[in-house]
């Protein structure tokens, strides 16, 4: 059972639809007990860093997520990936979940528009369980204006958008996808299946 954390941010149903489609049992929840009992955790998210952290705080989920994330496979998607770092700089400096060392900063590519929207190619730097079975020519779907800034050892894959943008990060069993696997066609479903394999 995968707990998809429902904290009022973004279109969480698309994550649920994708897990249902590939046959991974899941529950949309904001309950601590569900998160504690789950075999894996997905933290989705569309929106802004400070308000997302606020919503997690209001639901009193921060401590539970921090504790549970180390004990079972954990995947943050898009904003959910950004939240796993120590600090975000969207609008104001905000403390994140601090599961992986790094920060989240505004993208400033030359001559390219922001947000970075569209299908971009994954360049694998450090293979991780989520990249199992992926070829060298896989595209995934991005929608974001901020990027993770962290050490290379935590970057499993990046994409080129005027600069190297971390696309898939990991540390132990903690994973973060800057793109939307639930909107990335077969490649995205493969990545979610790989996550399911770890449970």
């Amino acid at each position: 059972m995968i707990a998809i954390i429902d904290y009022g941010a973004g279109n969480i149903f698309s994550v649920k639809n994708a897990l249902d489609f590939i046959g991974l049992e899941n529950i949309l929840t904001d309950k601590k007990s569900d998160i504690e009992n789950a075999d894996g955790i997905i933290l989705p998210g569309v929106g802004a860093f400070p308000s997302a952290m606020n919503m997690l705080k209001e639901k009193d989920l921060i401590k539970t997520i921090r504790e549970q994330a180390y004990q079972k496979p954990f995947l943050g998607i898009c904003l959910g990936m950004q939240l796993i770092f120590e600090k975000g700089f969207e609008f104001e400096e905000t403390e994140g979940l601090s599961l992986i060392e790094g920060t989240v900063e505004k993208m400033e590519p030359k001559d390219l528009s922001i947000p970075h929207i569209g299908w971009n190619k994954l360049e694998i730097l450090n293979p991780c369980p989520l990249t199992n079975g992926l070829s060298e020519n896989e595209y995934v779907y991005f929608v974001h204006s901020y990027k993770a800034v962290c050490r290379d050892e935590y970057i499993s894959a990046y994409c080129e958008y005027g600069e190297k943008v971390p696309a898939l990060v990991f540390k132990g069993n903690i994973f973060g996808a800057q793109f939307h696997p639930e909107k990335s066609g077969k490649t995205g479903l493969k990545i979610l299946k790989n996550f399911g394999e770890m449970l």
Binding site: F13, N17, F21, P115, G118
Partner: protein, 252 residues
């Protein structure tokens, strides 16, 4: 590097995919959920549903179609047609659409763009513009399938839509639409020259070369086609293979 997108568009009426034949008859060509799943399978980068339902009951049917599609299709889904209010935006996004496109309602009420962008984010606000050549040069915005000239300059309107918070422009040339003589390169260059947001080229494609031309000669981010794909005159894989051969980045 971002891939150029190929987008099949489906006209949906009362829950069925339809296609107008020269504005005279409208022919049903299938189930939108199945059609969308097939295009996803073929490698379409995004799917557009255009709701041409006129009735209120039909809108509920459309939302049901979107909900069912979202369970089977895992590429971005854009839904347009008859979106007039923020509530329409919300209902459509909640049903599972990733983006909502607005056309005449935005021309009549430009604030709809900024309100939607503030609430839901620019990334899900697509402004569709139907443009037609003016006899004295330039392009004018038309609505209702080209029947009503709004007397607004299409290039300026695209700029205004961007400044109001549109995330993308879906630009259809009413001069080339249905002709199969190629996309309207002149119109696309006029609009791409003044906006930074992605522009989707629509109207006029009939051959593989038309797709490579539009990406070689304009800054369009995506190309949209409807009947060409419906009637299987060309398939998405054929178009992508052709673009790859021309060294245009595509997702294959």
């Amino acid at each position: 590097m971002i891939a150029k997108r190929i987008i099949p568009c489906l006209d949906v009426r009362d829950g069925k995919v339809v296609k107008g034949i020269n504005f005279v008859g409208i022919k049903e060509v299938g189930d939108p959920v199945e059609c969308a799943a097939m295009y996803d399978e073929q490698g379409a980068d995004e799917i557009v549903f255009l709701d041409i339902t006129a009735t209120h009951e039909g809108r509920g049917t459309m939302l049901e179609v979107v909900r069912n599609t979202a369970k089977k299709v895992f590429v971005p889904l854009t839904v347009g047609g008859g979106i007039k209010t923020i509530d329409d935006f919300r209902d459509t996004l909640r049903a599972g659409a990733d983006k909502v496109s607005v056309n005449s309602s935005a021309v009549r009420n430009p604030e709809l763009i900024s309100q939607a962008a503030d609430i839901f984010g620019s990334q899900c606000v697509v402004v569709a513009i139907d443009a037609k050549r003016r006899p004295d040069g330039g392009f004018t915005v038309v609505v209702n399938g080209g029947r009503i000239d709004m007397g607004i300059d299409a290039v300026q309107w695209a700029q205004k839509a961007e400044s109001l918070g549109a995330g993308e422009i879906l630009l259809t040339s009413m001069d080339t639409d249905g002709t199969k003589k190629g996309f309207d390169i002149e119109l696309l260059n006029a609009v791409c020259g003044v906006v930074k947001i992605p522009v989707i080229a629509s109207g006029g494609c009939g051959t593989l070369e038309h797709f490579s031309e539009v990406f070689e000669q304009t800054k369009a981010s995506a190309a949209l086609a409807a009947s060409l794909f419906h009637y299987k005159e060309l398939t998405v894989p054929q178009v992508k293979a052709h673009l790859k051969e021309k060294n245009i980045p595509v997702r294959i």
